[in-house]
Amino acid sequence: AAAESSDSEEEDLVSYGSALQPLQEGERIKKPVPLQEQTVKDAKGRYQRFHGAFTGGFSAGYFNTVGTKEGWTPSAFVSSRQKRAGRTILGPEDFMDEEDLSEFGIAPKDITTTDDFASKAKDRIKEKAKQIAGAVAPIPGTTAFDDLIGPSKITVGVELLRKMGWKEGQGIGPRVKRKPCRQKPDPTVKIYGCALPPGLSEASEDEEDDYQPENVTFAPKDVMPVDLTPKHNVHGLGYKGLDPSQALFGASGREHLNLFTGGSEETSNFLDDLRHSEGRKLGITGQAFGVGALEEEDDDIYATDTLSKYDTVLKDEEPGDGLYGWTAPKQYKSKKRPEGEFKYIGKILAGFSLASKPSAALKIYPPPSLPRNYRPVHYFRPVITAGSENCRVQKVLEESTGKLESDPAHQSRHALTAAQRREQLGETELKGPAPSILEYLSEKDRQRLKEVKQASEQQMKAKILSQQAPKSRLQLASPEDAAHKWRKLLEGQLENAGSSDFKPFAKDPEKQKRYENFVKSLKQGEKGSLERFLDPNMTEWERGREQEEFCRAAMFYRSSNSTLSSRFTRAKYEDDVDKVEVPRDQENDIDDKEKAVKMKMFGKLTRDMFEWHPDKLLCKRFNVRHPYPDSSLVGLPKVKRDKYSVFNFLTVSEPTTSVTQATNEKIQENNSLNKPRKSSRWDVSDKDQEKKDSISEFISLARSKADVQQHPPVPAAEESGTGTTETPPAVVTDDDKNQEEESKRPPMDLFKAIFVSSSDEKSSSSEEESDEEQQAAPLERESETTKQVDAPHSSSSNLQGKTVTATSDSGISSLPPSKQELDASEEFGPKLPPAFSSGRSCKHLEATFSGPSRKEKHRKIRERHKTKKERKHKKEKKKKHKKQKNKGKHKNKKSEKDSSSDTTDSSDSPVDTDTTGLSPKELLRR
């Protein structure tokens, strides 16, 4: 069925053109020949000779030999006596090659649409041209004769019209009566621009005969078709290039090829058109011989040259314009014109004609003459607001300027506000937004406000009056006090206040100036000078108020400045770019890192990992395989993002959040640990200490021990009484140290590299972890430890410390395994030190959950907060440990051994179950 359908489909298809030949198996698709390599061939496959005899070459099998072997050899005489009657007249076609007669040849034999049958619409313009030519030709109606002589090709429409009584030259439409007298242009009517030439101002033909019988009607005037040919070229308006038909065909007979001959130009062009169209009928036009299609255009050597082209008489170059085709001024012609005539140089555009009268010259009015004593400088008269105090000054000023007038209304004309003027003029109020808040208030409220205001003013006045005598003192003092107060307030903020860019009183320059001075003085701390900057014309009260205002402004400026600066930051990218190249991963905020560094928690927090693409060559030179063989990228991968994309601001990625979490945790820890946490074994101060009292290593050890005792301050002391103290036993020191060391040095590889012997110490590190999860241990052991602790606890003297350390040293070796276990468990902090977060620890943990650490758990249950103290101890022990380490590597190794022994002991009890419980904590830490 499918085959059938396909067949039917094929039948339905209509195919155009010739199908491509199906490709053979394994045949390659030919590359298309590029344009520059394509060659022109004729029908016979000959290069560059695709012309026949009449198109520049002779080809008829025999190249350029008229189609015969012999070429132009004269044929033998053949008597044509018998054939005389049948003698044929040879046309040009007889001498043509078949190529000339082909479709693209010079005389195509194929049937083509001729002018006669072509659409008439095309000929419209030609018709029109004919008509114009007929009208303008030197002998009017020449073309009419042409029509008579020439073959008539009257369209049906014309024929119909003729039958209806239409005659050529008439318009179409009902006959009209012609108005007897033409209206003279009204002299009163102004004509703007140039006057129209007389010929165009009115219909021309029928103006001559004044006599017109009443009963005679006329056909309407023929309408000159408007030339609506669009302008396709880029020539200047009215420019006509060389007409090739004119140049090649008929130009020889006539004058020079004058392109711009003014009035007669159009007609000649139309005539050319006519001729051209007639010449077309010959069938052979253009350059026949000599120039091949691919050859350079020769000079038209075959064009006939007539004598008339040359000047035969020496004279002024009168006939030509001497411009040789330039669209340029016609000096010669314009010279001859009368002086009064309007001069127009250059060619007049089609459709335009020269004005007969020049347009009226523009009257120029001279500017008003300046008064003799005028000086082009403006003086500002001091503006004085009408006030009780200023009144006199104002008057004096006005007197001086001679402006004083008795009429107050006139006097204050310029001082009036818009509202006042409106009132005077009796205009209605403008409907617009109310100028003040008061407008929005109800009448009653306004009244009330007014009363309040008046009351307060009166009160103020009364005060002033009552304090008249001491006022001068008081009033001076109070602003000073205020200034003092303000100065205190503004102490730190004055640096920025009053800087040039903040102008709170920009509207009132005087006030602004005063304000600036005020701030300056305030900054310098001058007390008395504050008053100076205030307006002396003001009342004391006003002054005080202004001072306060200034202070407030200064304060406000400060705050706004700081708030603004805190909200803006410098642009990262240029404004005019929409998209920016953003590195896909960015080193995230250093704030968290800073914190981490301060806490010496290097590792995850301070590390940023990025994908980075090395250069291929770089890899080659490093002799390393390229990590991303497929990528062409080099460097950090970049992402083109919209500049304002949200993602640009979301650089805080997952690790950072974890960091903050971690840091929070860390901070907590840190708070609880406070100092001891920071002084790690790398601390300098410890070393210094060590050096200072270099009595012995033991002393320092003891001291650190004593520190341990001191640090858990209150709770330890309390618990010492009860007998269940959290303070780790002194004996534990070595194990402690081991423990701490383990926690402090995470990467085992390093140590492995250095100390080959340490193989099983890993386990010890994990014991700390196990502590948290394990069950409570028997309490007796704790009590045991406390007993031991008591000794160092009671006093922190060096001597005591010594003894303690001595015991501890001995204890390491002498203590029973159970005791050691206990010790180990005791000192394992509930938490890993922050630095310990490597992946390795996890593994160890699983292997080494020990029994003895249960006690730890128990303790935790009892008192949560104590664990923190534990941590403190741990740090202390770390210190201790360091000191011990300083003794030498032997010691270190020894301790390791100890720890290893511990771990082996402890790891006897398998605790696989707890590992799962551990993981979240572990995760958190990461």
Partner: protein, 189 residues
């Protein structure tokens, strides 16, 4: 490593004058560049130690905080030593970036001073602005030796890769230090 905060890699075999790769991740001048077999370690004044791992195609950037003056790999290639202008040397784990050790005692606040690891990775050394060269025990972090070299700043420091042999430059003077038992070859005694 350049002050324009780039590290440029040129190909010595070709004669191309332009670098084959520019590592422009640093935000400030590069003070130190070290190479291992497949890594480029850079210390920058922006307080970061960047390690470009060519094999893994990764960039590790460790934030130290203080401007880095000098970086170097340990001999075993596991650690990175970074000296910074807060008078501290830090030994970082190369893989995790964790702090393994911190070494202080010398003075380095202004100058770009070198830091070294000795031939066995047991000690860490650093030049100082007080005319000494300090050596610390790598593991314990304790000051093992402070070697008075001159009066001025010890400008440069280099340790022999295999022998206990230290080359120190200070104030127009280069000194070579060997262990006590060392007998110069040409020396008859």
């Amino acid at each position: 490593g350049s002050i324009d905060s780039t590290v440029r890699c040129w190909d010595c075999r070709s004669r191309r004058p332009d670098p084959i790769q520019v590592l422009d991740e640093a935000k400030d001048g590069i003070s130190s560049v070290k190479l291992s077999g497949h890594e480029i370690l850079t210390g920058s004044v922006d307080g970061r130690v960047r390690r470009y791992d060519l094999r893994a195609g990764q960039l590790c950037s460790d934030y130290i905080g203080s401007p880095i003056t000098s970086v170097c790999f340990s001999k075993d290639g596991q650690c990175v030593l970074a000296a910074s202008l807060d008078s501290t040397l830090r030994l970082l784990d190369k893989d995790t970036g964790e702090l393994l050790g911190e070494y202080t005692g010398h003075r380095s606040t202004t100058y770009r001073l070198d830091c070294v690891l000795n031939e066995q990775d047991t000690h860490v050394g650093c030049a100082s602005e007080d005319g000494r060269v300090y050596f610390w025990d790598l593991v314990e972090g304790s000051l093992a030796l402070s070697l008075p070299v001159g009066q001025g700043v010890v400008q440069s420091l280099a340790f022999h890769p295999r022998l206990p042999c230290l080359l120190v430059a200070t104030q127009g003077q280069v000194t070579l230090w060997r262990e006590d038992t060392f007998q110069p070859e040409g020396d008859p005694g």
